[in-house]
């Protein structure tokens, strides 16, 4: 699949329930966020590939709000394919999100916009 409109195509995939990232055909390096040109090489050979959705929390913070507005998590997630993205980890208290935590992507609807968030993954027994 050639990339002609990176952001629009990314969003269309999300609407269809698919979390897609890019990969450069020449370098095999994965890329996020969506672009028309591969960073570092300038190659115009980015293609869409399905992200595994697996990731690890690289860093995390809690944005503190005045109650009753809830405080919330903001995290940097290192995707299994290599790129890092900002997101949040849901399903646990914001302050319980920990660096090194294994997480799995999920697409949620946020005010009508599809957004990639992550859930903590129970470590395998």
């Amino acid at each position: 699949m050639d990339v002609t409109h990176p952001d629009a195509e990314f969003r269309a995939f999300l609407v269809a329930g698919r979390f897609m990232i890019q990969r450069s055909k020449s370098s095999r390096v994965h890329v996020f966020y969506p672009r028309a040109v591969a960073p570092g090489t300038g190659a115009r050979d980015l293609e869409w590939v399905e992200a595994s959705g697996r990731g690890v929390v690289y860093s995390t913070t809690v944005v503190r709000k005045k109650p009753p507005e809830p405080s919330y998590n903001v995290a940097l997630i290192d995707l299994a394919e290599g790129p890092r993205m900002m997101s949040r980890v849901e399903g646990v208290e914001p302050a319980a999100v920990a660096i090194g935590m294994a997480v799995q992507a999920r697409i949620v609807d946020q005010h009508g916009e599809p957004v990639v968030v992550f859930d903590a993954v129970e470590p395998a027994a």
Binding site: F32, T60, V62, V63, R64, R84, I99
Partner: protein, 382 residues
């Protein structure tokens, strides 16, 4: 080969104005007053200025607006906006342009009325499309992510971040121009309201008004002026990313590379530096930059700042004006460390004067640890 005109240009005038609250002035008024003061300090006039290096807090064509305000027609108008590090890059670029003879007199200026105008950080920056849905409270959250990673990797503590805030306040208490001069204790620090974990209100720079300006010319011309010239020995910059997620290792900034190049150009090492000014937008910055600029090994910065080592009377004087944490932070702070370095090297820093200061470093940071730029200055006798 040294590609930098080491010591061949100098800062010959420097001024600050309106640090804290300066009601009734527009940003350009404040910058213009500081500019006039810096030119007066140098014994020069607006008519001498043929290179203007300026960015305005909200006007992206502010370089043109400010030249118009001053009634000058610069041959070079540098309106580069790499955030708070822009001013260090102005010094670097002005040194090359002066040395090449393209210009004879550079005016570097900044002013902001953000505190009295809006009471909060003024920014023209648009949220990044792939960050915005997660609502980071920027810039705090980006620095918080760096601080959290640093604490995770090196076992640093909140008390060690607090040591940076306390040292800044102690210096500010010696600086009559500083905005925050009331005593600050570790208990105060630890009890302060969390904003974006692990950073609390007292880890964050102030929101103030303020203006600063410096005047640069070639060293041969500088000898005939009013003030002892402060030599520009080295300067270098490196930009790395825009959003924090694209900093490869959140504990290592491009200051490691801008600093190394600036030292190489100056022919100096960290051991030669008598006084250190770094852009402390947040407490974690001071720790990261002390490491990246070579004052201690990576991962030891948090221990390095303990026990008052960077406070008045400590082994390494850091941010002697009180820094962005306690002196002033009018949106972009990078020019203030340069002015403070000049004052220390002139020996005019009053109660906070560092004895026998010959070499100073003034490091700027832009964005979210994104753009790093380092200037190394030497006293007239160096």
């Amino acid at each position: 080969m040294n590609d930098f005109p080491r010591g061949r240009t100098a800062i010959v005038g420097a001024a600050t104005f309106g640090q804290g609250k300066a009601p009734g002035y527009e940003a350009s008024d404040l910058a213009a007053i500081a500019s006039a003061m810096a030119l007066e300090d140098a014994g020069l006039s607006l008519a001498d200025v043929d290179g203007l290096f300026f960015c305005h807090p909200t006007d992206t064509m502010g370089g043109l607006s400010f030249a118009q305000y001053l009634g000058i027609r610069p041959k070079v108008t540098d309106n580069n906006r790499t955030g708070g590090s822009a001013f260090q890059t102005y010094v670097e670029h002005a040194a090359y342009l002066l040395d090449a003879g393209a210009i004879d007199c550079a005016l570097i200026a900044y002013g902001s009325n953000q505190a009295t105008a809006t009471g909060k950080l003024v920014s023209t920056v648009q949220p990044m499309r792939y960050e915005a849905p997660y609502r980071p409270l920027n810039p705090v959250s980006s620095y918080a992510l760096a601080a959290a990673r640093y604490m995770h990797q090196y076992g640093a503590t909140r008390e060690q971040l607090g040591a940076v805030a306390l040292a800044a306040r102690k210096w500010a208490m010696l600086n009559p121009e500083a905005f925050k001069r009331d005593p600050l204790t570790m208990d105060d620090y630890l009890a302060s309201r969390m904003v974006s974990d692990p950073l609390s209100v007292l880890d964050c720079c102030l929101v103030t008004d303020g203006a600063a300006a410096v005047v640069m010319t070639r060293a041969d011309r500088a000898r005939d002026l009013k003030r002892a010239p402060i030599k520009v020995l080295g300067a270098a910059a490196e930009s790395h990313h825009r959003e924090i997620g694209w900093l490869d290792d959140l504990t290592v900034t491009a200051a490691a590379r801008s600093g190394a190049r600036a030292y190489q150009r100056a022919g100096l090492t960290p051991a030669d530096i008598d006084v250190v000014q770094v852009y402390d937008a947040f407490t974690i910055n001071t720790i990261l930059f002390l490491e990246d600029l070579g004052f201690c090994p990576k991962g030891e910065g948090a221990r390095f700042v303990e026990d008052g080592r960077i406070a008045p009377g400590g082994a390494l004087p850091v941010n002697t004006n009180g820094g962005g944490l306690s002196c002033c932070h009018p949106g972009m702070y990078g020019l203030f460390p340069i002015v403070e370095a000049v004052r220390q090297l002139r020996g005019e820093a009053g109660d906070r004067q560092v004895a026998d200061a010959s070499f100073a470093i003034a490091h700027g940071n832009g964005g979210v640890l994104s753009s790093q730029a380092t200037v190394i200055l030497g006293a007239a006798a160096t």
